[in-house]
Symmetry: C2
Subunit: 253 residues, 2 copies
């Protein structure tokens, strides 16, 4: 479905702010269809955890929960290791295909195109999942990668040095060799290194660099009351018990 894919991309790549309301009539006008196909897309997205229906009120883009960064990496690591091991044992790996992925990744790094880098990385992992032939691993890898896109857009690319990006590609290449050799243990180690290098970058971004030891009273963290339509959205995200992050849309735009 057209609307579904389009909205999904908008949400994943942070073209729509997490926590913001998705007005059905506005979307209907934008996509030039009636409200029904819009609702269908929103239903699908809610199943993927990308939007959240507030009954009889509105639908919001699911807040990005930075509390879950650790969960995300734990789970991505487990799934990736399983996929790498299974792909290595499958004997179905095709060197040309694997290295075409790496070429794409290398080109993206050279061009410095962050979106392409992430897309290439994900395409590579999805390819490994397909090689594994395990439909559940495929499905879960799909889901976890999608869940991480927004975090990576915000925290990876702002903190990854060019060296680290190049190194990541070389790790991909080494992993590919291990898989082509049919060596599950080496594949396991390689993919672990690869993922853990990414984790280190994200964690460096999440760790606060300013304000750790800064003395502070409640007045320092109080915010001016934002009224009207923005006030509505703020309340929705802030009321969450999790640490819902606010991407710096206002600050930048």
């Amino acid at each position: 479905m057209q609307v579904h894919e389009s909205l999904r991309e908008d949400i994943l790549w942070l073209r729509i702010e997490p926590g913001s309301a998705l007005d059905e009539v506005a979307l209907a006008e934008r996509f030039e269809v009636s409200r029904t196909p819009i609702r269908e897309a929103l239903l699908l997205l809610s199943g993927e955890g990308l939007v959240k229906f507030l009954p009889n009120r509105t639908t919001i883009v699911a807040p990005m929960l930075m509390d879950n960064a650790g969960d995300y990496h734990d789970t991505l690591l487990i799934l990736s290791r399983s996929v790498a091991r299974t792909a290595a044992m499958s004997g179905r790996a095709d060197g040309d295909l694997l290295f075409s992925h790496i070429d794409r990744s290398r080109a993206a790094v050279r061009a410095g195109d962050m979106e392409s880098i992430l897309r290439a990385d994900h395409a590579f992992l999805r390819h490994l999942a397909a090689l594994s032939g395990n439909i559940f691993l495929e499905r879960f890898i799909d889901q976890i990668l999608d869940a991480g896109v927004r975090m990576y857009v915000l925290h990876y690319f702002r903190n990854a040095a060019p060296d680290e990006l190049h190194q990541s590609v070389e790790q991909m290449a080494e992993l590919s060799c291990a898989i082509l050799d049919g060596d599950p243990d080496r594949s396991d180690r390689r993919v672990s290194e690869m993922i853990q290098a990414d984790i280190a970058i994200i964690m460096r971004s999440l760790a606060p660099r300013v304000g750790q030891d800064m003395e502070m009273t409640s007045s320092h963290v109080a915010r001016p009351h934002v009224s009207n339509r923005n006030g509505f959205r703020r309340r929705l995200t802030r009321s969450s018990p999790d640490q819902a992050i606010e991407p710096p849309f206002q600050a930048e735009g």
Copy 2:
């Protein structure tokens, strides 16, 4: 949503035959609502992989693919081990809660109520996932358990001896002890044993006991042509390249 949950239960517990068509107007009459809420439920179910939309034709209950039994167990094992380890390390385990699950399971086994046994098993694993505190593991455990319900209904309960069911409960208890002790390695071993015992039962059911060495010509496997509405459904499931199983509905009903 009422319709969604109800349909989901019907599909999972094989009250609706895999591969059968879901007529929207018939469902609308059954649930005494219009087609719109029916379609919403079907959309949600398609996101969960339980139904499949055939564009401009109909919606069918997703065929159960027995080819995936191996994938299922591989993935369940990985996820369960991760969950058990994390739950053990969390230190949040509550003995009373854990053993209330085990009591429920034991009661279900004593009563010989197969549906209750499976529900209790799943509730136990979901509880461990909640203990792990990892929202991704929770989500994936949910999904994989749902995906396996139909297979277990068909293949586990028909082939599990009472002894094996009792033993499964004791394994649950040992796992619970390991988790309460905060021992991730022992929890890992215990949950692996538990899952692998289940696998053995399923595999025993899937392995053919008759017909391995039976001499056969093509006429022995030809089936009478089933015309009209049943013929339609047959084609849908049989055309799948996977081994779509046909639960013995006709044979029993």
